[in-house]
């Protein structure tokens, strides 16, 4: 009995490092096995044809870029600019000592954060034109700018408010002690620092908006006002192929991945200044 008690644990017990190594190599083995199985089992010819038909890709260009990608970027930037300006106003209202301003901003933010962007877009595209017998000026671009901008403003306002509050109070005191007015200190000292703090979430919002711009298809776009998602869908119907959808998806990545890169660079530069 003493014999088994002493030898069995000695055989089984690994050092902490040995165990970690064993677990890690097991993970690699499982991964390699899964990839190999998939590579062998898959019908590459069919997959290639269905997802990546070179003929179709050739026909998609250049409109994919000159019309669809351009429109996605245009809609996104317009809605974001609108949302940023309105969001800044709302954030300052949220921080105002005047109660009605605070209340108004809070109600606005709660409302537009709580309803789907889709519903707001329908309201501005169809609801309000029916109700008031007049359309949002600027056609499709105007409608999507206002509708998605109003929704984005609610999120941007909350982000900005958090950013402004994250700047140490002492910064405001230092600025005021130099004779700056409250407004001047906000513009020159507090808000620039707030933007540095909230750059990542603001970029996140821009990425979300890029994808939300696809909702524009609801408004009944023309050939020239199609953006990536609608363009891909039209091509799907035309060619009966998955390829256009995949290409449209890749085009979104052309926008969003560089954005992520820019943020990382800005953050690095900021880390240097901090």
């Amino acid at each position: 009995m003493t014999d088994t008690a002493s030898t069995a644990p000695a055989r089984r017990r690994l050092t902490r490092r040995q165990r970690a190594r064993l677990i890690r190599s097991t993970q690699y083995v499982v991964l390699v096995a899964a990839v190999a199985t998939f590579a062998v089992a898959a019908d590459w010819g069919r997959i290639g044809e269905a997802f990546f038909d070179v003929e179709i890709i050739r026909e998609l260009f250049p409109e994919m870029l000159t019309v669809a990608l351009k429109n996605t970027v245009l809609y996104t930037l317009c809605a974001y600019s609108f949302g940023l300006v309105l969001g800044m106003v709302l954030a300052l209202m949220r921080l105002s000592p005047v109660l009605p301003y605070r209340a108004l901003a809070t109600i606005y933010i709660e409302f537009f954060r709580g309803v789907p962007a889709l519903l707001v877009l329908i309201a501005f595209g169809y609801g309000i034109p029916v109700a008031l017998n007049s359309e949002v000026p600027g056609g499709i671009l105007g409608t999507i700018t206002v509708a998605l901008g109003l929704v984005a403003a609610a999120y941007i306002a909350e982000t900005l408010r958090a950013g402004i509050q994250a700047v140490p109070r002492a910064q405001m005191e230092a600025a005021r002690s130099l004779g700056m007015s409250h407004g001047r200190a906000m513009v020159s000292i507090i808000i620039p620092q707030a933007f540095r703090i909230i750059l990542p979430p603001l970029t996140n919002e821009l990425i979300l908006l890029t994808k939300d711009s696809s909702l524009v298809y609801l408004l009944g776009v023309t050939l020239q006002t199609r953006e990536l998602a609608k363009f891909g869908r039209d091509a799907l119907n035309q060619y009966v192929s998955m390829t256009p959808i995949l290409v449209a998806g890749l085009c979104y990545l052309i926008i969003t991945i560089p954005l992520g890169y820019v943020v990382r660079r800005l953050e690095a530069r900021q880390a240097q200044a901090r």
Binding site: A175, L178, G179, Q272
Partner: protein, 249 residues
Amino acid sequence: MSASAPTPAIEVRGLRKSFGALDVLKGIDCRVAHGEVVCVIGPSGSGKSTLLRCVNRLDEPTGGQVFVGGVEVTDPDVDIDAVRRRIGMVFQQFNLFPHLTVTENLTLPQRRVMRLDRTRAGAVARSNLERVGLSEKADAYPLQLSGGQQQRVAIARALVMQPEVMLFDEPTSALDPELVGDVLAVMRELARDGMTMIVVTHEMSFAREVADRVIFMDNGVIVEEGDPARVIGAPRHERTRSFLARLLP
């Protein structure tokens, strides 16, 4: 103010400040003459910093009056931004603007508050950086500097506004001991040039050497004041004695 005496640089009359139920200042009266250097000493929580912050109304006084250069700071109709331009302030934690370079820290207030153009503001910034011995750090960001260097930049930033008086709120308390000397040297130089200064400090040797007068505060009142050698060397009050005994073993 009596008609015969010249207008003091700073005059505080019956100053009171409460934070909720806590009375931090319980009636402070003091005058600081032009060119005078006054060091305020006392245990933490005695109200020294609050007194300083009430002079430029970073803290709003609960009662009493403050005059700077004959202008009532506590007048509700006063242009407080204009008054603060004439009062330089240096904080314990430096409070430089971290998103701006050293030069921009010095030029931005001149350009935005005094409306100077870039060239003139730059010239003033350079001469003041030289004054605190940091010309070579003009393009650095504050957080690339040591604490002592940051505090010297903060002093230069206050000086570019050409203030009539300077308030120092424990300017060396956040510094590593070996960095204190450079900051005190700049302040000593400033005192020698005739700047009116109120310095809240724990640096007794600085107070003894540079101050014209030392004020000892405890529990929201001025306990005693007078010549530095006398207050620090031979304090009259028991509270002053026990405070100094703890500070200077």
